[in-house]
Symmetry: C2
Subunit: 363 residues, 2 copies
C-alpha cells in the first residue's frame, strides 16, 4: 500500500475507487459501463441530483444557493467568475495570497478592473495578508481559502461588505465554515472531492445574471443552473466519482468529523516538523494549512536523500512545488491518519540514522 501525499490530483477513498472501478464495468447492474450510458438516463440523472443535494446538505446551504458541476477545473472558473459577475467598468477586489490567487487576478483583468487589496508575493507567499480593507464599491471580494503550493490557509474568513467569493479547490469539505456567508464558492474536484475534469460552483442566486454583457452559453452560469448542470453532456464519470466521495464524507460523519481527523493529522505532522532537528516549516505558524504541509530540511543537501528514504517506505508525492522546494505533504480528507503516522515515523527514523551515522547527514 502506498501512502499518497500528492498535491493533486490527490488521494481518494479506497471504497470510492472500488465502486468507481465496478461502475466502469457495470453501472447499477445495468449491464452497461458508466462511461457509455446517456447522461439523460434516469440512473445518471439520479447521480447528478444526489451530488448536488449532498453539497447542499454537507455545507448546510440555504435555498437561495444554486449548485453546479461544470466541465474544467478552477482555472476555468478564474475566467467564468468575472465573465458572469464583473462588468467591464466595475471593480473586483482580490487578495493575492499565492500562485493560484495571482492567476485568478490575471484572468479577472480580461473582464473588468481589479483591486488587489493586499499581497504576500514579496515574501514568497509565506503568510496570508490580514491587514487590508475591502472596498465597499467592489463587485465582489475574492480569496483563495487554501494555498496548495505554499501551504497557507485562511483560518478566519474576513467579514466582507461585498459578496465574498472563494476558490476552495484544496480545502472544501475538509473543515466547517459558514458557507452561507459567501456569494460564490468554486473548487476543482481533484483534491478533496473527485477526479480531475469537473469543478463545483456554488452561487447565491441573486448574483446570477446581473452583469450586462452577452455571455456565450457554455460560460453562462444562468444557463447551467436552469439546466441542472445538463445544458450539454456533463463530465459523467467525474460527477459520479465526486458523488461517491461526497457520500463517503457524509458516511464518515460529515464535515465536522472530517475536520476533527484533519486537525489531528495536521497537528501530528507539524509537531514532528517542529520537534525534529532536521526539519522546519516554511510558512507563518498561524497560517499553516491543514491540507498541504510544506517543510524543508535545515540542510537542503539532505532533501533528496530523505525523499528517497520516504519513497522506499512507500510515501509518494512528497516533493515540494518548485517555487518552495523541500517537501509538501498533502493530507486531504481521504488520507488516513495512519499514513501521517507512517511519515512521522520515517522522519524520526531518518533523524536517528543521521545522528548515528554522521557521514550520512553530511553528504
Amino acid at each position: 500500500m502506498k501512502h499518497n501525499f500528492g498535491a493533486g490530483p490527490g488521494i481518494l477513498p479506497q471504497q470510492v475507487l472500488q465502486e468507481a472501478a465496478q461502475a466502469v464495468i457495470n453501472f447499477n447492474n445495468s449491464g452497461l459501463s458508466i462511461l457509455e450510458i446517456s447522461h439523460r438516463s434516469p440512473d445518471f440523472e439520479a447521480v447528478m441530483d444526489e451530488a448536488r443535494a449532498l453539497v447542499k446538505e454537507l455545507l448546510n446551504l440555504g435555498d437561495n444557493y444554486s449548485v453546479m458541476f461544470l466541465h474544467g477545473g478552477a482555472s476555468s472558473q478564474f475566467a467564468m467568475l468575472p465573465y458572469n459577475l464583473l462588468g467591464e467598468n466595475e471593480t473586483a477586489a482580490y487578495l493575492d495570497s499565492g500562485t493560484w490567487a495571482n492567476k485568478a487576478i490575471k484572468e479577472a483583468k480580461f473582464f473588468g478592473k481589479v483591486n488587489v487589496v493586499a499581497s504576500s508575493k514579496e515574501s514568497n507567499y509565506t503568510f496570508i495578508p490580514k491587514d487590508y480593507e475591502i472596498p465597499k464599491d467592489a463587485r465582489y471580494f475574492h480569496v483563495t481559502s487554501n494555498n496548495t503550493i505554499y501551504g497557507t490557509q485562511i483560518h478566519q474568513f474576513p467579514e466582507s461588505p461585498v459578496p465574498l467569493v472563494s476558490d476552495m479547490s484544496s480545502d472544501i469539505f475538509s473543515r466547517e465554515f459558514d458557507a452561507n456567508k459567501f456569494g460564490l464558492i468554486y473548487a476543482g474536484a481533484q483534491k478533496n472531492m473527485g477526479p480531475a475534469g469537473v469543478a463545483l460552483v456554488i452561487v447565491r442566486n441573486d448574483l446570477v445574471g446581473t452583469v450586462e454583457r452577452a455571455i456565450p452559453s457554455m460560460f453562462n452560469y444562468k444557463l447551467h443552473i436552469e439546466n441542472g448542470s445538463m445544458y450539454n453532456t456533463p463530465p459523467v464519470f467525474a460527477v459520479y466519482v465526486s458523488m461517491l466521495t461526497l457520500r463517503w464524507v457524509k458516511a464518515q460523519g460529515g464535515i465536522k468529523a472530517m475536520e476533527k481527523i484533519n486537525n489531528e493529522k495536521a497537528a501530528k505532522l507539524y509537531a514532528e516538523i517542529d520537534r525534529n532537528t532536521l526539519f522546519k516549516g516554511t510558512c507563518a505558524v498561524e497560517d499553516r494549512s491543514r491540507m498541504n504541509v510544506c517543510f524543508v530540511m535545515n540542510s537542503p543537501e539532505q532533501e533528496k536523500e530523505f525523499l528517497n528514504f520516504a519513497k522506499e517506505r512507500d510515501c509518494v508525492g512528497l516533493k515540494g512545488h518548485r517555487s518552495v522546494g523541500g517537501f509538501r505533504a498533502s493530507i486531504y480528507n481521504a488520507l488516513p491518519l495512519s499514513s501521517v503516522e507512517h511519515l512521522v515515523k520515517a522522519m524520526q527514523d531518518f533523524e536517528k540514522i543521521g545522528s548515528s551515522k554522521p557521514e550520512l547527514s553530511m553528504k
Copy 2:
C-alpha cells in the same frame, strides 16, 4: 450482454473498459489509481503524449497541425472556435445541417458575424444542403460532418476557398478522409473516442493566434498548444480512456479497417429498414449517416411496442431523439457487427409476429 445503440455517451470497446477499470484501482502497477496521480507524473505525461501522437498517426496529420485534448465537449468548442479565429468585424460561414450546427452558429454570433450559406432546417434537417457557395472573404467555413440527431452525414466534404472547419464529434475515426484539407477539426470524445468530459481539437498552426482580441487563458488555443494540453490539470481519466480507445482503433487496423466494418454494419441495417414492410428511413438516402441510423415505423402507434420488443432482446438506447421520433440506432466504432445483426433479426421477427397476429400490428 447488452447491445448498446445509445447516441452518446456511446459504446466503448469492452477491452478498453476492462483496462480503464483496472487503472481506476491500480494504474501501470504504480499501486495508485489513475484518479489520484499527478498529471505531471511521467506515467501520465506518457499517456497524453501517446494520445496526441495516435491522433496524428491515425489521421496522417502533417507537422503543421497541433492536437489538443481540452476540458468540456463540442459545446465548449462552439464558443472557443470563434473566440480564437473570428474577429469582431469578420464573417464566418456556416452550414446549417442540424441542431448542433445551429447551436454552433448561435455561439459564433457572440464573437463576430455569421453567414449561413445554406440550411435544411425547414425540412426538419432530413438532408445535407449541397447547393451553396462559400464566400471567399469568410474567415472559415464550418460544417458538422455527421448530424447525430437526424442521421445525416456529409459523404463528400466541399472544396473550400477558406479554412474548412468541422465538428466531427459523432464520426471522427469512423471513416477515411483527408484531415490535411481542414483548418480545424473538433470532437467531443463521448461518441467514438472516449468518455464525456474531454474534447479533441486539431488545428492548423497558421490559424492560431491570428485574431486580435485578448483571450482569457483557458479559452486560448495558443496557450494550450504551448503547454501540450497541460496548461491546467487536464481531465486525466477521460484523456486516458481516449488514449486506450485510439490504441484499440489502431490495433483493429486503423481507420481503414473501422470504415470497412462500419460500412458493413450500416449497409445491413439500412437494407433491413428498406426491406422490412414495417419500417422506413427518415432522411435522404444519399445523405444517410453510417453512424446514426434513424428510422420510424409506417404505423407510428407500433413504435412503443417495437421498442419494448427490442429491449427484451437486450437492444438498448434505440429511442429516437424527440425532434425526429421513432428510432435511432447509433452504430459507433465499438459496436460489433453482431449487435447490428441482432437488431436486424429483431426487426425481422417483429415483422413476422405482426403478420401472423394482425391484431398486434393493428394496435
